[in-house]
Symmetry: C2
Subunit: 356 residues, 2 copies
């Protein structure tokens, strides 16, 4: 934690600020260990405060070290006052415009007499480079989702509903000690597979369906994220071909990952395969996203991403093809980048598995 706080202070010194008001809940947890909600940090060159209301004071005592507790009634008002007291009334103060609401910004602007600067995601990007213990937490979470997928295959698909399979995954994650899912599990069968973010429903899976299963577990706050697409019984030739295209795109993208590659270039490797096969319009999302305390974080692998991949970054690789009224395929791993390429943290096989 003290290394992280030092890195945060590096950010504010680099930006010429006297302090930063940290409103992003994941950054709060990352910097001080607090697992609750409704807290802000005031980080100055020598100051470290956690500001929260009475619901959380005992929890702060349990979870947080190295930050003084500022007892608040109104979070933004009192945190702003604490920043002025600790850093000076005219302090140059950074804030996080991507998580602070505009209403809270206006409160801050009205009350703080010094300069304000939106630090964007500059602080949150510190979370992009993972420490070994963070990678290990994601690896443990990934092992749980691997096991949950094995259980799904063992339980069969045809005749079951999407909701039943989602619940089976939920139970497996609990049995294996996950804190919970890292996001709402997607189980999307047949035509519903064309909805990238489908809510599991009550339709029974029939032979010939592709079944997209996208799930994640949480361990020590850290998320895993894996998608596999199964064949329920025999597939049509078109669906087999679509599966093969997505698999090829995913494999070449994983293979191409190296330090120094941009998020744009990594996305292009996968996208080129899908476009060359004539399905470019059917791949409507980016190729991947960072994973950590937050399920979607820095870096991004996508058409507009300028992020540069570096050793220690942990992210997904997840191309897909979605055909309206027909079905979808997505294949997603969570990987960690090393000097020579990336290592898979999700290990469930990727060749097409046909399940009865």
């Amino acid at each position: 934690m003290s290394t992280r706080l030092a890195a945060a202070r590096g950010v504010l010194e680099h930006l010429g600020l006297d302090g930063i008001l940290v409103s992003d809940a994941y950054d709060v947890r990352y910097l001080c260990g607090f697992r609750g909600e409704d807290a802000m940090l005031v980080v100055g060159r020598t100051t470290a405060l956690i500001c929260t209301d009475s619901r959380y004071w005992a929890q702060v005592a349990e979870e947080v070290e190295g930050f003084a507790l500022e007892r608040t009634e109104a979070l933004v008002r009192d945190s702003t006052a604490a920043a002025a007291r600790e850093l000076g009334e005219r302090a140059a103060l950074g804030f996080q415009g991507g998580t602070l609401t505009h209403a809270d910004y206006r409160l801050l602007r009205r009350r703080h007499r010094g300069r304000l600067r939106d630090v964007g995601d500059k602080l949150s990007r510190l979370r992009g480079l993972k420490e070994p213990a963070e990678i290990e937490a994601v690896r443990r979470a990934a092992a749980m989702t691997d096991a949950a997928l094995e259980a799904v295959v063992a339980g069969g698909l045809v005749g079951r509903t999407e909701a039943e399979i989602a619940w089976q995954i939920r139970e497996e994650l609990h049995r294996r000690g996950a804190e919970g899912p890292s996001f709402d599990t997607v189980v999307a069968a047949g035509p519903r597979g064309a909805l990238a973010h489908a809510i599991p429903g009550q339709r029974r899976i029939v032979a010939g369906d592709l079944v997209v299963v996208d799930s994640g577990a949480r361990v020590d706050g850290y998320c895993s994220d894996i998608t596999r697409t199964f064949a329920a019984g025999e597939l049509s030739d078109e669906l087999r071909r679509v599966y093969a295209i997505v698999l090829a795109a995913q494999l070449v993208a994983v293979e191409a990952l190296r330090p120094g590659v941009t998020g744009h270039a990594a996305d292009k490797v996968a996208r080129d395969v899908i476009e060359a096969a004539g399905y470019g319009d059917a791949f409507g999302h980016g190729t991947g996203h960072g994973v950590g305390l937050e399920i979607h974080e820095y870096p991004r692998l996508g058409r507009r991403s300028r992020d540069v991949l570096a050793p220690g970054m942990l992210f997904t690789v997840e191309p897909g093809i979605y055909l309206q009224d027909v079905g979808g395929v997505r294949i997603e791993d969570t990987v960690v980048l090393g000097e020579d390429g990336c290592r898979l943290l999700t290990l469930f096989p990727k060749e097409l598995v046909t399940v009865g």
Copy 2:
């Protein structure tokens, strides 16, 4: 839905606006039925657009009626452009400063040439008055949590962990058809009961503990919210007394609820009982909050609330006493206000239940 859209248009006409850019996800669902994320609405006097990216286009077709689909790549940029096209370049446009981030506001400000006005919670407040079908959904969700608490009592407390009990509730809610929990269940035993928002842990419950259990179910998107505090075996005299005080505060507050009472006055009824007993400092949160699609919504029952209670409002009544290193008591019902007072939707008994 068309009644709701008409009410939203009433708000913008009342404020002299040409349209509102709706960013609050619960308002989006309330007005158009869309259950996904990452969408905005443009509501004008005759315009109704839902703006979202390709991940959700098929879902919009399934779930939304009466709104035209605006296909976006960058949500704020493209929604702002659509508003200008539909409402005029110089249109007076409302936005929701309590949910729009400051970064998104700046994008909006840079791109929209007309007047902008923060409508605050004026649109979200429409959700405060419930229709019969909404009350029925909450009632069904409340029946599920009642049943889950019965299962907890039947399963016993002493020797089990908080996490085991939280999982038992999760399973019961699933068995009874809930979409999921409406928030992370709190199970806080013994000294941990002093943490109003404790995360269930691995400590085993011992005789003499008070056990705070705060849970909710979700049905058709609507939330229930109930807290009961159980005695694990025989309690000390002090804890029995604290329980009796909180129960008295809860009962008189429920009894005092009438149309026209303010959130401040309702809070004061409960708080006076607790203060008179000498525990005023140990009741650090408000007495209640509205419940609906969102687990915490309009109205608020608290010291600073000016909300005026009206028939059809649905909210919690939940005083508590938290004694650091000793334990906590909270007793919470979800209620709906009628002309003559309120009706409980959560029906689990409130007298002290001692569980072995």
